[in-house]
Amino acid sequence: MKLKLFFRMLLCSMALLSFAACSDDDDSLFIEDGIIAYVGDVVVDQNDGTTYTDKDVKIELTFDAVANTAEMLVKQVKFAEKMPIRLDMTVKGIDFTIAGSGITIAGNNIVPEAMGGPFPMYTIINLSGKVTDSDFSFSMKCGEFPVTFTGKAVLTSAK
């Protein structure tokens, strides 16, 4: 049932602007404008033998079936304890493939957007991950720092 709903979500995201037409009346994770959200922990290898974990980070995924790319918005994330700010970071142009019970994502040398524009300092290297209707996990290198994420899907309102 969930998988079915999940693919309905994907189909809806293909339609991009199909705002209300695809909504359902059960406990679906389906989000009206094609966004699905996960909350989980971002773990950052500090390259000094320690790791920093930023808990309860929210990540929103948007799938564009026409372009066959996904977009990942990492909301209010910190990559180090001493980092004085949290950032919204958007990773665009992620490849995705429907595989088995979920979707796999991948990308390399993607310059994310943060603070209003391209943010080469955090260029994404070797992004790979798996998305299901209940879980999302990925690993990548963000600039010089290896980053992993493991999260659970949440109901969210679309913005």
């Binding site: 004085p84 603070m115 524009g117």
Partner: protein
């Protein structure tokens, strides 16, 4: 008939030995015309003392009051409430520097902005907005101040007392008056009025005034006059008395004022000196006021039914260089448009000598206010007040990159609607038992206030690290706040008659000052919101943002102020009535006292907040004597010690500190010597010498800045021959240098200097 004779006798006696004794002995007057002129003050008592809620003679009431009559008002060149305050103990109305408002302090209670602590009534019409308080006073028959809360009879915003102004009535005086005065500062003052009584049943008066002055301070930035002013007003009054029972009295008043800016001088804390006034942007104020009041009295055998209906219109606009420096920081424009309707209905027992005297009343009011208050940030302000704050955080992470704005100037627009309405019922009874008179009263006051706000700004910005182009950005705060209050306002008093020697009294009364909204803070609130929104737009969130987590409602709303006033006093007639003494001691316990504070840091606004608890204690003493034929002397002294009992601002604890703006001492001494019939040369020659002392005054809650006690010397020489009179007058003749007011903007401290020596001559004709 007996009642009328008694009434007139009391009135004439009270006028003969008024708080400020009239400068002319009635029986001296052989010249009929002169008698009319001088007795206009006395005869007017008959009309004036037909008060709506008070007794004819305030000295018979259990309260502390001061009265000035026409002769003394005009001889002392009193043309504003500010002038009036110098002659009344414990009443302090500093020169605010603009007619936009009047800051009135009585016995430690007061208000710099927003709701007044003292009610103002002109010919029984209540003026609800302080912005209309500083109006032109001319042909004023009588001015009264009643100290202590008068909330039982007058309701909200009379926590410190009330000021009653009675204009000259065409029913009691007929004639034409004209005067022209000129003084230093190129000050011109012209007044003209005429009073007619074509028949026994009706009378009318028409009058107007015009004034202009170059002021007394220059703006060093461009050498222009700083405190110039011009304006005028007109008054039309029609009184209709179709029979012995009904009186209809309608007053229409319109006024207009245009003036320059504040005389704020930058204060240097290290040297303790103030620099000359110097700011680059336009400052000024203009106001149009129109009011109409209809008073209807119907006298029955046992009761008197009165109705006072008023409509007031106020349209004003203030323009400010609010940093008051030559820098291009920011300007403010505040334009208000207000309509007010009031209705007071009073039913009272007729005749003041009944054993049981009572009055009951119903009050209704509605006030509609619209205000537009755009703040324009200019290049220096953008850099120092906004970008400096934003980039301070940005630089902690990206030291070489900045947020930039595309605009050299941008506006924060703020529009408000603030309707208020209220209703009250009240009753007060006085019951006499032997020499004792017991008074008890209660008012139930309901008030609903609301603020609709829409504050917004649009600009373009970029972050140099990531953005090549400027990005359009808009931030907005829009919402509504509303409050309802129901307040019981009781009063109790016991009075003991000393018969011809006066009376003693004790009283307890509760005062209430309405809460309100800090519209002045929206510039700062929106700046904070803009920073938050802009960072969110960038996707940046600071862990320790320095941007307070608050709701708009919390910041802009302040609570009502309440007080209990405990008073012991007396009115005494000594030496056969040649010396009149009035004395009072008071203790005020005030909770949630409303204070105007300037938030720390480089903020652009000011706000009203509530101090936890204050107490004020002190007293008043007035002595007025006819020392010898033609020589009258008066002395009044007020002492107030007002301190915080409980007030922690979150930054500091001010317990034990003095409440700001409240003078500890107010002192006035006057001597008036008059000679009559100097041969054929003069009908009257009068010399007046006056002394006023005020202080010390603490300017802030920390009490680290204060104005010491200062003295002002005034005087005049008045000569009259036939229809004409000529007066040479002077104020602050010794040129005392003192600070009249205090202001803080973007972390800078400013003082407004008191006016220097003023002198002039006034020529009057009356026929």
């Amino acid at each position: 008939m007996c009642r009328t004779i008694l009434f007139l006798t009391i009135t004439l006696l009270s006028s003969l030995f008024s708080t400020e004794v009239s400068g002319r002995i009635l029986s001296d007057a052989s010249d009929k015309k002169l008698q009319v002129r001088d007795t206009a003050i006395s005869l007017s008592e008959v009309a004036v003392v037909a008060q709506l809620k008070q007794k004819n003679d305030l000295r018979l009431e259990p309260l502390s009051s001061s009265v000035l009559k026409m002769g003394n008002i005009e001889r002392r060149q009193i043309s504003s409430l500010n002038d009036f305050s110098y002659y009344t103990p414990n009443l302090y109305i500093p020169d605010y520097g603009s007619k936009i408002t009047s800051s009135i302090y009585v016995r430690g209670l007061g208000s710099r902005i927003d709701n007044p602590a003292v009610g103002l009534y002109v010919d029984k019409i209540p003026y609800l907005n302080k912005n209309g308080f500083d109006s032109d006073l001319w042909d004023i028959m009588r001015m009264e101040v009643l100290r202590g809360p008068q909330s039982t009879l007058y309701g909200r915003n009379t926590i410190g007392g009330i000021i009653n102004i009675h204009t000259l009535s065409p029913m009691v005086y007929q004639g034409t008056r004209f005067s022209v005065g000129y003084g230093n500062g190129n000050s011109l003052n012209i007044k003209g009025s005429t009073y007619w009584k074509p028949g026994e049943k009706w009378a009318f008066s028409v009058g107007g005034n015009y004034y202009s002055t170059d002021g007394f301070f220059d703006n060093e930035y461009d050498g222009s006059d700083c405190d110039w002013m011009k304006g005028g007003s007109g008054r039309f009054r029609l009184v209709f008395k179709p029979g012995s029972r009904l009186t209809i009295d309608n007053s229409f008043i319109a006024g207009r004022v245009e003036q320059g800016g504040y005389t704020y001088s930058l204060y240097d804390a290290e040297s303790g000196t103030t620099a000359p006034v110097s700011y680059n942007d336009l400052c000024g104020y203009e106001r149009t006021t129109i009011s109409n009041g209809l008073s209807v009295n119907y006298e029955m055998d046992r009761y008197l039914l009165s109705s006072v209906t008023s409509w007031q219109y106020l349209d004003d606009c203030m323009t400010l260089d609010q940093d008051f420096t030559p820098k291009r920081m920011f300007t403010l424009q505040q334009a208000q448009n207000e309509h007010t309707v009031t209705q007071d209905i009073v039913l009272k027992r007729n005749g003041e000598n009944k054993r049981w005297q009572w009055l009951s009343g119903l009050t209704l009011f509605y006030k509609s206010m619209k205000m537009a208050a755009p703040v324009r940030f200019k290049q220096d302000g953008i850099n120092e007040l906004i970008l400096a704050n934003i980039n301070k955080g940005i630089h902690t992470v990206f030291p070489n990159d900045d947020i930039l704005f595309q605009e050299d100037e941008f506006d924060i627009f703020s529009n408000f609607k603030a309707p208020v309405f209220g209703a009250a019922v009240y009753h007060q009874s006085e019951y006499k038992v032997g020499r004792f008179a017991f008074t008890a009263g209660l008012r139930i006051d309901y008030e609903h206030s609301q603020l609709d706000y829409d504050s917004n700004s649009s600009l373009s910005y970029k972050f140099t690290l990531t953005m090549q182009q400027f990005k359009a950005f808009r931030t907005q705060l829009k919402g509504k706040e509303k409050r309802d209050y129901i307040e019981p306002l009781p009063k109790f008093a016991v009075q003991y008659s000393l018969k011809d020697y006066g009376n003693l009294y004790v009283s307890v009364a509760r005062g209430f000052k309405a809460g309100g909204y800090n519209t002045q803070m929206f510039s700062d609130i929106l700046q904070n919101q803009m920073q938050t929104d802009m960072m969110a737009d960038l996707g940046v969130y600071f862990d320790n943002a320095g941007i307070a987590g608050y709701t708009v409602g919390e910041v802009i709303t302040y609570k009502p102020e309440y007080s209990w006033n405990y008073e012991l006093g007396g009115h005494f007639n000594l030496w056969g009535g040649r010396l009149r003494a009035d004395a009072a001691l008071f203790y005020i316990d005030c909770t949630d006292q409303q204070l105007t504070i300037f938030p720390s840091g480089k903020t652009t606004g000011r706000m009203m907040t509530n101090a936890g608890r204050t107490r004020s204690l002190g007293g008043e003493l007035s002595l007025n004597a006819r020392v010898a034929s033609g020589l009258d002397m008066g002395l009044s002294y007020g002492y107030t010690d007002a301190r915080f009992v409980k007030y922690n601002s979150g930054i500091a604890d001010y317990k034990g500190k003095h409440v700001p703006y409240v003078p500890k001492n107010t002192l006035s001494a006057t001597a008036n010597y008059t000679l009559y019939k100097l041969g054929n040369f003069l009908d009257k020659l009068s010399f007046r010498a006056g002394y006023n002392g005020v202080g010390e005054i603490y300017w802030n809650e920390a009490n680290d800045m204060k104005q010491k006690f200062y003295s002002l010397v005034n005087g005049s020489v008045y000569a009259q021959k036939g229809l004409f009179s000529l007066e040479f007058w002077g104020k602050n003749l010794t040129g005392t240098d003192y600070n009249a007011f205090y202001f803080v903007s973007v972390g800078n401290t400013f003082f407004s200097k008191g006016k220097p020596a003023q002198y002039g001559v006034t020529l009057s004709v009356e026929f």
